[in-house]
Point group: C2
Chain length 466, copies 2
């Protein structure tokens, strides 16, 4: 278990706030151990640090009340969505109050003419997309988990189709935020673009609850494409697959998704789902557009793949066939966990300039082999982003230490190649040392901003900044 540092607790303030919030929120304030544990960090391997209580506000006014109460007594406030973040974002190293926003889950407006909507932070992306379907609209960002849109905004999430639609930073138009003082502000208008002052929207996106709590999110929407096509192609090795990706992006094909699975992942999926895919590097693609355009894109990609030695190229526009082609990707997470039953999958995340992707992925694979890890690699490679998932016996201290060392090594490598220590998971507790390695003196500016906006350091303390 990787240790997360405990921070000094303000016992007196916490006791006072617990009393005040109990009085105000009754059963919506929960202090049972099991719910508190669920609201500490539960994913992957950072140790759980429970909050002192969990409160479930119903509206912005209640959030503001909670934050004001905590601010008055200098008690930590930790925003909580669905708890799917991966770097200890929701741990409470100094205790405090977990503000669970899952009951603030209303879709407040859909402005179909403007291709935008306004949601509360507890709305999940699947809930939103189910709601939008009848109107021919969708919200494209898909980080895998059915995360809350508040959490996705807070961690600057992205996922499989960021290569076409961008990340949360590109898809949030405006935010309502409760500041660390309990004031309610709006960061921007609903206009599609603006030069009106500092970009507080983008400052809040990815701030991981350290600068305020988002209570309303205005999101850009997309029309459901007229047509989609999917494609699949295998390569002898990662290098060839990555080079085909690079050429595809350079050529300007507007791929909606381009996912890389390594041979181990393909093997896992073959076993898990009784498939017969060639057990080598696999690319899966999706194209969005008009009927003509998705045909053209798939065929063009096919000819690029061939140039780089791709084999077994298949593509289709039929929904049923598309699902079959992509089954390997949908099953990848569970299939790879089944490679070593009982082990914990340590998902780590880097992103490099696409010209360095082949080098970075190949080196990672070699290093994992040297360490003797069973560790699948899956990537949103159109952006140069990939994950490794070493499967670790958490009772074996040596293995845990080696995995920890590997994560450090991989982050250093990505940074040395001009990349980032996290493409989409965020900093939380787990990546704080790498943030400093990556950005050096810029982290001082982040810390200055944090102190200016949250001088008492009550908003999610111990995350991102030193």
């Amino acid at each position: 278990m990787v240790q997360a540092t405990d921070l000094p607790r303000n016992e007196e303030g916490i006791a006072t706030v617990l009393g005040l919030l109990k009085q105000r929120f009754g059963e919506k304030l929960m202090t049972g151990e099991s719910i508190r544990e669920q609201h500490g960090h539960t994913t992957t391997w950072i140790k759980n640090q429970m909050p002192d209580a969990v409160v479930m506000p119903q509206n912005t006014g209640e959030v503001a009340e909670i934050v004001k109460t905590c601010a008055e007594h200098k008690v930590p406030v930790i925003g909580f969505g669905t708890g799917t973040s991966l770097e200890g974002h929701i741990n409470a190293p100094a205790g405090g109050i977990s503000v669970d926003l899952s009951e603030m889950n209303e879709i407040l407006a859909v402005n179909a003419e403007d291709l935008d909507c306004v949601v509360q932070p507890g709305v999940t992306r699947e809930q939103l997309n189910t709601y939008l379907r009848d109107q021919g609209l969708f919200f494209p960002i898909d980080p895998g988990a059915n995360a809350s849109l508040g959490g996705m905004t807070a961690t600057r999430a992205s996922g499989t189709n960021a290569v076409r639609y961008g990340t949360m930073k590109d898809n949030v138009l405006s935010l309502e935020v409760v500041t660390p003082q309990g004031e309610v502000i709006r960061t921007a208008s609903r206009a599609k673009k603006s030069s009106a002052g500092y970009d507080l929207t983008r400052l809040m996106v990815g701030s991981e609850g350290t600068l305020g709590l988002m209570t309303e999110i205005t999101l850009k929407l997309q029309g459901i494409p007229e047509a989609m096509s999917s494609a699949r192609v295998s390569f002898d090795n990662m290098d060839a697959a990555c080079k085909a990706v690079m050429a595809t992006i350079q050529y300007g094909i507007p791929v909606a998704r381009i996912e890389l699975l390594d041979a181990l992942t393909v093997k896992a999926v073959n076993d898990y789902s009784k498939l017969t895919l060639p057990e080598s590097s696999l690319l899966l693609l999706e194209f969005h557009g008009s009927e003509n355009s998705v045909t053209e894109q798939a065929e063009l990609f096919g000819s690029i793949a061939e140039e780089f030695g791709g084999t077994g190229f298949e593509w289709t526009t039929s929904t049923e066939e598309r699902n079959k082609l992509w089954q390997a990707r949908h099953d990848a997470y569970w299939a790879t966990l089944a490679l070593r039953p009982g082990a914990k999958g340590i998902s780590t995340d880097v992103c490099v300039p696409i010209s360095r992707l082949a080098e970075c992925v190949t080196a990672a694979q070699e290093r994992l082999d040297e360490l003797g890890f069973i560790a699948p690699i899956v990537g949103h490679v159109g952006d140069g982003n990939f994950h490794t998932l070493p499967l670790i016996d958490m009772d074996n201290a040596d293995e845990v230490a080696k995995a920890d060392e590997f994560v450090g090594w991989l982050n250093d490598l990505a940074i040395s190649l001009g990349g980032t220590c996290t493409g989409e998971h965020g900093i939380g507790q787990g990546k704080k040392p790498y943030l400093v390695k990556e950005l050096g003196g810029a982290v001082n500016m982040m810390a200055a901003i944090k102190r200016a906006i949250d001088p008492d350091n009550i908003m999610n303390p111990g995350k991102i900044v030193p």
Copy 2:
């Protein structure tokens, strides 16, 4: 002439800094009145406030030295690119040093495989695009003027093809910044996406030189499209034209440009360039993609335009014909100025959700008519952004006052429709009151950030924040 408030001058500090910089930079420090006047605000109608000197650094180290010297003596530092900004961004209300970055105009790297490049801030967009052409690449943001990329970054510029390629916020990957303390930081890696801490890149983009000076800019590039098509269509009135735009965007046609010209602008262009266009609302479009796709897009748009009563629809893929179709747009600025020789064109800028565009443009047109102004309207309407250009006799105080009142009225209207007081020109001095109207308490957070990063308020004082 609209007054910009003078701020208290630190005479002693300024005298000291002038001495130190003269010693260090010799002829690269200039104090002549005419060059100082050129480096104060020279566009539109805000009064010129000259700096005390203009200095032309050659590299990041020199910029850092200048800023450190100014910081030590608490003397204002005003970044200067090409001087084309429109809201008094480069005025020196408290005097100080204009740091003219136009000699830092090297293209430092083009990473064709990664579709990015690294430039110094004095590189202009035309210089960059000329340089890139042979490599089949281009940088899409086009604000009209041949602005410097530093200035475009500082004002979060956009322009005609933001509807497809976004604004500067979407096209800057990373920045090297000299902080108000004279430290050099880098805001991000060169990875296409990242969740590594606060988004300092986006905080700097649009900060108008108030948080630091950018000394290197890493920009996303695009492949020059395989094909382009252009189209032109007229409408009886603004309402129909705006509704056709809305439908086009909603339909998901990936238009590269969609520009609206009002009847007055078309009349001006007919006179100026001897054209015979119907003198009513005109839409001009451009589509980028494969040969098939630009044909498909143009034809699809044609059928949408017809539904909304569009007449005289023409489209073409030939370069020569495309230039002819778009001539009205290229000539619009000079043609409209010729409507009232000797008058000053007061360019103002708002942006509203596209569903409110017809209402906002129509109301603006009516109001301008009531006021008896000759005032063309041109819009980057795919984003809901438009400009009016009242032609004002600056010697007529009554007219100037009425124009000032009109600008206020239009900003209030845009804000009341859920829009912003500036889609692309920025706040500078001219829009400070409207920023507060638009974002209220959020401006306090901006001010807190400004104080944290620049506690002595030396970076471009008197701009954006109170």
